[in-house]
């Protein structure tokens, strides 16, 4: 048996691109309903319409997560220590 057989298809180099395509297809599918439904504006009386705009949840989810990852990365430069830091 060749070495290839032992590698699960998730780990094969040629499938990496396919996995990205699948993910993007799922994202496109999730966006599709935006053309048909209108979201509720929870704070219309405060003049906030942002949450009812098409695609709000998609870009908000992406952006806030990207910000959190970057903030964590930056804080990591200050806060990270070797994991035996506290061992005497």
């Amino acid at each position: 048996m060749s070495q290839e057989k032992h590698i699960h298809w998730l780990y094969r180099e040629e499938n990496r691109r396919k996995l990205w395509y699948i993910q993007i297809a799922i994202l496109a599918l999730a966006i599709l309903p935006e053309f048909f439904i209108h979201h509720h504006a929870y704070f219309a009386d405060q003049g906030i319409q942002l949450d009812s705009r098409a695609g709000f949840y998609a870009w908000y989810g992406f952006t806030t997560c990207a910000v959190m990852v970057i903030v964590a990365k930056l804080l990591g430069f200050i806060l990270k220590r070797n994991d035996d830091y506290y061992d005497e």
């Binding site: 999730a30 908000y60 992406f62 997560c65 990852v69 830091y85």
Partner: protein, 569 residues
């Protein structure tokens, strides 16, 4: 001592506490059966109790109400029994008798808190919990040398919290004469200290680090028990005593983002999940701070769901630890190939914590965000929605990705023994059943609830939020490369700075150290003798106010033992 009680009803927590104490005396064959029976009996007792039942014990000048029904208490007690029972199923083959026994005493006293009718009973159970949970961590010190130190740091934090709570209760009684558990506002010294005492156990800043410091040092099953009780009894206590206290919104929001950021930085799989506890409890505190009926229902429902899916996640991580002996993401990966059952259960737990539709998280956490919207708290709402996306990021994807997928570590351990798989499958089942039939949990909430989680708008927006959060994870994966590191937290002050300074002083001033310590000891003794003179059994205060002095004594002893331990005198 006067006991009033009716029929065969006893405080449910007592069954678990006595069961825990009985466990070491049982034969090896009886033990597993007993470990499942005690939580089940406790659960039955929880549901037999009605508002008419009561049991009070006279203690000094006060009446301790040990059996006091509230709908909030019942929902927390129910999930505590489930966590103890399913946790015992997960634990019984590998856990030491000490761990299991301590876990039952711990769980039983958590149930005790939920049925406490006054602040003094609550405090007593609160302190038994601290001892039980410390022993759960300590029980692992033979297998993990780090557990001993972690258990002692854990105990110190909880004794400190206990002392603050005790002083708060004393001051509150002094000011109002009441020991009742009622909705309060933090507007006096007593109520502020009570609030702070509760918050220490909830994992609030600045002491949040105790959760991630202590829990991951326990055994695979020990961490499962620990995740269920301490922080959630604190949520219960805050729910009962401080609904609508605005401070909790700010504290909760801080915890929500603290949990996400630290979990993103973390490499130890169970520490990721420990930070995630702080994040989840943060959501609950925000809801309690909002304080509307919808919000309080949300906090209770979320606590219920959280205990189950967090237990499930930690069972999954515990199984990996047990089968591989490894706990760091840098050493793990690719385990889905040989541990499919553990991976699937871990993923279900991850989906539930992320509030994916058809899971328990979706039908419970959405009550809290909706409550923020209904209350017109726009900033809070936007932050909670961002945090919901962040939950998917740090727990929903990060945990299963780095443990079961990412690079192939080459490890091929089998799934854990049948009892562990069964426990995980039951937990997964509960996550899904609650998600599909939310009426199960909506029906036992403290307030009537008219809420439909499955609207097209809600399902679509939630899926969009999470899927794009997931997309951000994979796009930015290179920024999240695991490193062999820990992250500094507030505990740096008492683990590094102060001991370091003390050591420096000791070396630099070796000559004056002995007289200095002698002076400190003598000073302490003089203060102590003075207290004894004034407040002791023959003291001026004791003669007129025996109960008040008793209360003070408890506080003094706790404080003294803490300081003595810390200075290792």
């Amino acid at each position: 001592m006067i006991i009033t009680m009716s029929s065969l009803i006893i405080p449910p927590g007592f069954i678990l506490i006595l069961g825990g104490l009985l466990l070491p005396l049982l034969s090896t064959r009886l033990k597993p059966a007993a470990a499942l029976l005690f939580p089940l009996l406790t659960l039955m007792m929880v549901w037999l109790i009605t508002p008419d039942h009561s049991l009070s014990v006279n203690f000094l000048d006060y009446e301790l109400a040990l059996l006091h029904y509230t709908p909030e208490g019942r929902i927390f007690a129910t999930v505590f029994c489930l966590a103890a029972g399913i946790g015992a199923l997960f634990a019984f083959k590998h856990a030491s008798t000490l761990e299991l026994s301590a876990a039952f005493v711990y769980a039983g006293s958590a149930v005790g808190v939920t049925f406490s009718g006054d602040l003094l009973s609550l405090f007593i159970f609160w302190e038994i919990m601290a001892i039980g949970s410390t022993l759960v961590i300590w029980a692992n010190s033979r297998a993990n040398p780090l557990a001993l130190g972690a258990s002692m740091r854990y105990l110190l934090v909880h004794l400190l919290g206990g002392v603050i709570l005790m002083i708060g209760i004393t001051a509150h009684i002094g000011a109002t004469g009441s020991t009742d558990i009622v909705a309060m506002k933090a507007d006096s010294l007593g109520t502020w200290l009570i609030l702070i005492g509760f918050l220490v156990n909830a994992g609030a800043p600045p002491l949040s680090s105790w959760i991630a410091d202590a829990y991951p040092e326990a055994s695979p099953s020990g961490t499962v028990f620990l995740s269920a009780f301490t922080t959630k009894t604190a949520v219960f206590a805050l729910l009962m005593c401080f609904p609508g206290e605005t401070v909790l919104i700010y504290v909760g929001l801080y915890m929500v983002f603290y949990g996400i950021i630290y979990a993103l930085l973390e490499n130890d799989m169970r520490r990721i999940l420990a930070y995630s506890i702080v994040n989840q409890v943060g959501f609950m505190l925000v809801a309690i701070g909002i304080g509307t009926e919808l919000a309080l229902n949300g906090a209770a429902a979320h606590a219920f769901a959280h205990i189950i899916y967090k237990g499930l996640l930690l069972m999954s991580a515990g199984s990996v630890l047990l089968m591989t002996g490894k706990r760091k993401c840098t050493d793990l990966g690719g385990l889905f190939q040989s541990m499919p059952n553990t991976a699937i259960n871990g993923i279900i737990g991850a989906l539930a914590i992320s509030a994916v539709p058809l899971t328990s998280g979706f039908v419970t956490k959405s009550l809290e965000t909706s409550a923020a919207a209904d209350a017109g708290l726009s900033v809070v709402w936007f932050l909670l929605v961002a945090a919901s996306a962040g939950v998917f990021l740090h727990a929903g994807i990060k945990f299963p990705w780095f443990v079961f997928f990412q690079k192939d570590s080459g490890l091929r351990p089998p799934d854990p023994p049948w009892n562990m798989r069964l426990a995980m499958n039951i937990m997964s089942g509960l996550c899904i059943v609650i998600g599909v039939v939310p009426a199960l949990i909506y029906g036992i909430l403290p307030y009537a609830l008219d809420y439909e989680p499955y609207t097209l708008d809600h399902v679509v927006t939630q899926l969009q939020l999470l899927l794009f959060a997931g997309f951000a994870f994979f796009v930015l994966l290179s920024l999240m490369k695991r490193t062999l590191t820990i992250s500094l937290d507030f505990d740096w002050f008492y683990r590094k700075l102060i001991p370091g300074l003390l050591a420096k002083i000791q070396i630099a001033y070796a000559a004056i150290m002995p007289p200095l310590t002698r002076f400190a000891k003598q000073f302490g003794k003089r203060r102590f003798d003075h207290l004894f003179e004034v407040h002791g059994p023959q003291g001026i205060f004791a003669r007129t106010w025996p109960s008040a002095s008793m209360v003070l004594w408890v506080a003094v002893l706790l404080a003294a033992s803490m300081i003595l331990y810390y200075l290792k005198l």
